[in-house]
Symmetry: C2
């Protein structure tokens, strides 16, 4: 396994990205915005995630050798959740391997490409009659007549327009958006019209360069949100934004990264930055405020009111984005101080409001955002899950990066899988869920979350696992691995289990309160959609076992919908109808402040108990 970057292209969507060697196909597909089906939760048993690695296929694994015939393997058929990418690859993802609701969405988009792609930015090629004494009307009226509509324009363009028209011999392309003339370009440039969609995460920023004429993604870039150097959680960023210099730090650093990503996408897609006429941004409420340079301290104090609610249509130049000088920037509407534009994008891209039956959308991160759609009504809430699933506050916790234990199996002795197959360094969120579920199943942890000391362990427990339970400093721990660098074993402690109970309980209580406010029980849910990068990697049965996902919802009703924040941002860029829908969804969604619910404390206390089997 090397740290070198490889290039991955997905067919037939044409989406491409750079990834570290060793990345699983499933992960790369998720980052490229393709929600590959994974009904078994990555256990390698269902075989639904089949893809054909047209070029650059890795050696088949044991599981793959069992699922495919020799000729299929020779043709490149692999399981997305097993196959790792070791060199540049081209991967064909059959429609049947995409998540059902995404198949529908993609079909809609590919089907009606010409009619569905209705970006705000449009280009019109026009040839104007040159002024004569018999036809001596104003330049602008002449242009409006040729374009077929009236428009406004900025003073700067107004000043340059007469020169532009004459240099172009009165033949050129008008760039228009919402009744504004953004530019007039000599000749016919209709084929060159681009936009960029961004998901501004607290940790990661992903940007997608889109061809606004076809809707196709031309290039994708991602990077760490450089604001992490001012604190890796939202609250420390909010605090840092309280001084003008701090706000400048935060805004400036994210802009520098955006500029780098724009540059990289332009290079990859052979696009000039002046050909990008609009950008769309979805992120949590704080990230969106900081992007706009809005001091965010009020998001850090009760009652956490955001400054803006509706989406903002700004000048990209005012934000400081190095794209077309008259380009616009659309910033997603937000629902509340902790239910932001990323959630709105998720509601939009998951199509949850259009699906039959009560539908729940859960985005598990530092804050677990939850949305419930039922009978045309939308309820949302944010739960203070805390960063346990991102590795913080867990003694051996870490983010989902190289060397993180991402998968744990306690059938027999412990089996571990790490990211990039590297030697284990720590435990990330999905591994934590697996481990806790396993410890519950074999009785090492009680439903109340108590880790049993060696002398209380159930008699049914096998020896290999029994040997891993030990006491140290008066506390019980479970050792997973001997550990590197002589730091002692990688282990999970009683305290870690308590942190997990808090995080899980918050989300579980939030789900129950939302259901209760809608007059529902969790068993009524017809679909549970899991959004966000982390969601792609959790195993549903284990998430249900620890109570993170409702236990009374059938396994098949739970689906992963991928990075819906980026997907929603793209949709808003590609279609003014969908953008208006995002605004509508945001305003229609009622924000439920959990602490205002009389039952919250009781629900939370109850939710801390792991489900009985």
């Amino acid at each position: 396994m090397s740290d070198s970057q490889i290039r991955v292209v997905f067919e037939p969507s044409g989406r491409s990205l750079s990834a570290s060697a060793g990345t699983k196909v499933m992960e790369a597909a998720g980052r490229a915005g393709l929600a590959v089906a994974q009904p078994c939760g990555g256990a390698g048993v269902c075989g639904k995630c089949r893809v054909r690695v047209v070029a650059g296929a890795a050696e088949p694994t044991q599981a793959e050798a069992e699922k495919f015939s020799a000729s299929e393997l020779a043709d490149g058929w692999r399981l997305a959740c097993f196959s790792r990418l070791t060199r540049d690859a081209v991967i064909h993802v059959p429609d049947g391997s995409l998540l059902a609701c995404h198949q529908q969405i993609l079909a809609q988009r590919q089907h009606g490409a010409a009619s569905d792609v209705q970006p705000a930015v449009r280009k019109r090629y026009v040839e104007l009659p040159e002024p004569t004494l018999a036809d001596d009307g104003a330049d602008l009226l002449r242009l409006e007549q040729a374009v077929g509509e009236s428009f406004t324009l900025g003073l700067d363009l107004l000043r340059r327009l007469p020169g532009l028209l004459r240099q172009a011999g009165f033949k050129g392309t008008a760039v228009l958006a919402d009744g504004e003339l953004l530019d007039f370009e000599p000749g016919d440039t209709r084929g060159r019209c681009f936009g960029m969609a961004f998901d501004i995460g607290t940790t990661t920023i992903v940007g997608s360069l889109l061809d606004l004429t076809t809707g196709r993604e031309v290039a994708l870039a991602s990077g760490i949100n450089p604001q992490v150097s001012f604190g890796d959680d939202v609250l420390s960023r909010i605090r840092h934004s309280g001084s003008p210099a701090g706000l400048d730090d935060l805004r400036g650093s994210v802009l520098a990264t955006l500029a780098t990503m724009i540059e990289s996408c332009c290079r990859d897609g052979a696009v000039r930055r002046e050909e990008i006429y609009e950008a769309a941004f979805a992120g949590n409420t704080t990230m969106q405020h900081l992007l706009c340079g809005i001091e965010a301290t009020q998001l850090g104090a009760v009652p956490f009111p955001p400054v803006f609610g509706r989406g903002l249509l700004l000048r990209a130049a005012d934000l400081g984005l190095p794209i077309h000088p008259a380009a616009r920037a659309y910033v997603f509407p937000v629902i509340g101080g902790f239910v932001g534009g990323d959630t709105v994008a998720g509601i939009l891209a998951s199509r949850m409001a259009d699906l039959a039956g009560p539908v729940l959308l859960v985005d598990i991160g530092t804050n677990g955002e939850i949305v419930l759609a039922h009978e045309g009504k939308l309820l949302s809430s944010s739960t203070a899950a805390g960063p346990a699933f991102e590795g913080a506050r867990i003694s051996c916790g870490m983010r989902a990066t190289r060397g993180a234990i991402e998968k744990v199996n306690l059938d027999g002795d412990i089996e571990l899988a790490t990211i990039a197959g590297a030697p284990p360094v720590g435990l990330c969120g999905s591994g934590l869920i697996d481990l806790a579920a396993g410890l519950l199943r074999c009785g090492i942890v009680s439903p109340e979350g108590r880790m049993l000391p060696p002398d209380e362990l159930p008699t049914t427990l096998n020896d290999p696992l029994r040997r891993r339970v030990m006491e140290a400093d008066g506390s019980v721990l479970f050792a997973m691995h001997e550990g590197l660098n002589g730091d002692g074993p990688l282990a999970i402690t009683q305290r870690d289990i308590r942190e997990l109970q808090l995080a899980t309980g918050a989300i579980k209580a939030g789900i129950r309160i939302l259901c209760k406010q809608a007059g529902l029980q969790t068993s009524d849910l017809q679909r549970v959609l899991i959004a966000g990068g982390f969601g792609n990697f959790i195993r549903r049965d284990n998430a249900q076992r620890i109570g993170l996902l409702p236990t009374d919802v059938h396994h098949e009703k739970i689906a992963y919908v991928g990075n819906t924040a980026l997907e929603g941002a793209k949709w808003a860029l590609l279609s003014t109808t969908l953008r208006a829908e995002a605004e509508d969804l945001a305003r229609r969604t009622r924000h439920v402040e959990l602490s205002q619910d009389m039952d919250f404390q009781m629900e939370f206390a109850e939710a801390m108990i792991f489900p009985e089997t």
Copy 2:
């Protein structure tokens, strides 16, 4: 007579201005936008221009002593066209002394003040509920709900808004215009809302500070357009704008004057400049382009197409105006390269499109702009009258400033009147028309425009006038005055008469072509309205005698409508309905390029001949 400035206030309008001591009441009223009736053309015979000088009345003149009783004179009654202002004065203008169509307009405006004053800028005082956990919506949504409408806002205000709301304790005044939030001011500032209207003339700039809540004029300022230092005609300014530095010169100089006028009006009206939220500008096409910093060279070459046609709604800050940082600037729509926003304002303020019968509007300046309204249709044209009426190209010509002969009477010997009663320095436009009419009447000039030499003069000519005709260097001239400084007599020459014929012929031919294109003869005209500062001072019978105004229109159908450019700019500032009407009028008005009319050369040649009596 002194050069000192005096302060004049008109009642009941409350309009006020500064003027030079020696200014006639009529002139001051005109500059204050009050169109005092003057049916006899200032001859002092009709007595229709009666006003009561409440304070600061001058000694009555002979004509006034004949028109008023002793007690009336003691009460301050004077004739506006005779009485001169020598010190600070308060003048009551009875409605009956205003021009009929203006009486109507003013009545409408005063009558329906509350309903007619509908400026684009509006203020709403709101008290917002403070955010609580149960009501934790975004600041902007909270404000929108309180204001009762949604709005956009600039990034700068968005950044400051949360602080503004909290500093104001969530009680304050939203400043709105066309769906945009311009500011949020602590407390109730509804009573303070101002705008400035400007007439940007080639020679003179006039600015009026208006209270947008009542429609009242708070202060008035005027000054020379400093661009005259780059040439006193439009074409030399156009040429100067061809280089970036030249354009900067022109724009910068006019902006400096605007800033000075804004400052002076703010001081006079006790208004802070941040309380001015909108400015409106009417000027000729070139002046409007230069104000916007648009290079105007294409206005100087066939076919003279303007850059913009519709009115522009710009950020005042982008123009460089020192008023509220988010204030807007409305620049009037233009009809053609030489029929500009001042003409549109004239069509609007004269209400010509609403008057019965074919109506002609004539604005005589460097270019004579002519508009004809007939059966809902509007035709306009610009005639290259040249600057003869502004004193240029006339051997003893000068502008209408101190010492200019503004009135000439040739009954008996010559009688002259000069501006400010100063010793005569030269001849201005109104004096030139008087003189030429007189010379025609007494036969010194033939209908073809030939000045007869002494030996060909008619026998009926009296001796005093006969002695004034002389020959020098083989050319005939008529001496008006011995002249100052030993430079020889002030005289009009054959060449001057030819210049006058060219200027008069251009306007006369323009009027005839417009009438012809509308299927009319000049005798069909029901009203001839004379606009512009110069118009106020010409005597209709003399203007008809030389053919400048149609001879077959009855004297009483000719009326002066004052500075309609400023008046129209004010209207557009006070009423969005009237602003929309200005846009509509501009687009409805067909621009007739005279040189494109087959008959123009013939009409022009014929129009050069003075009318036979």
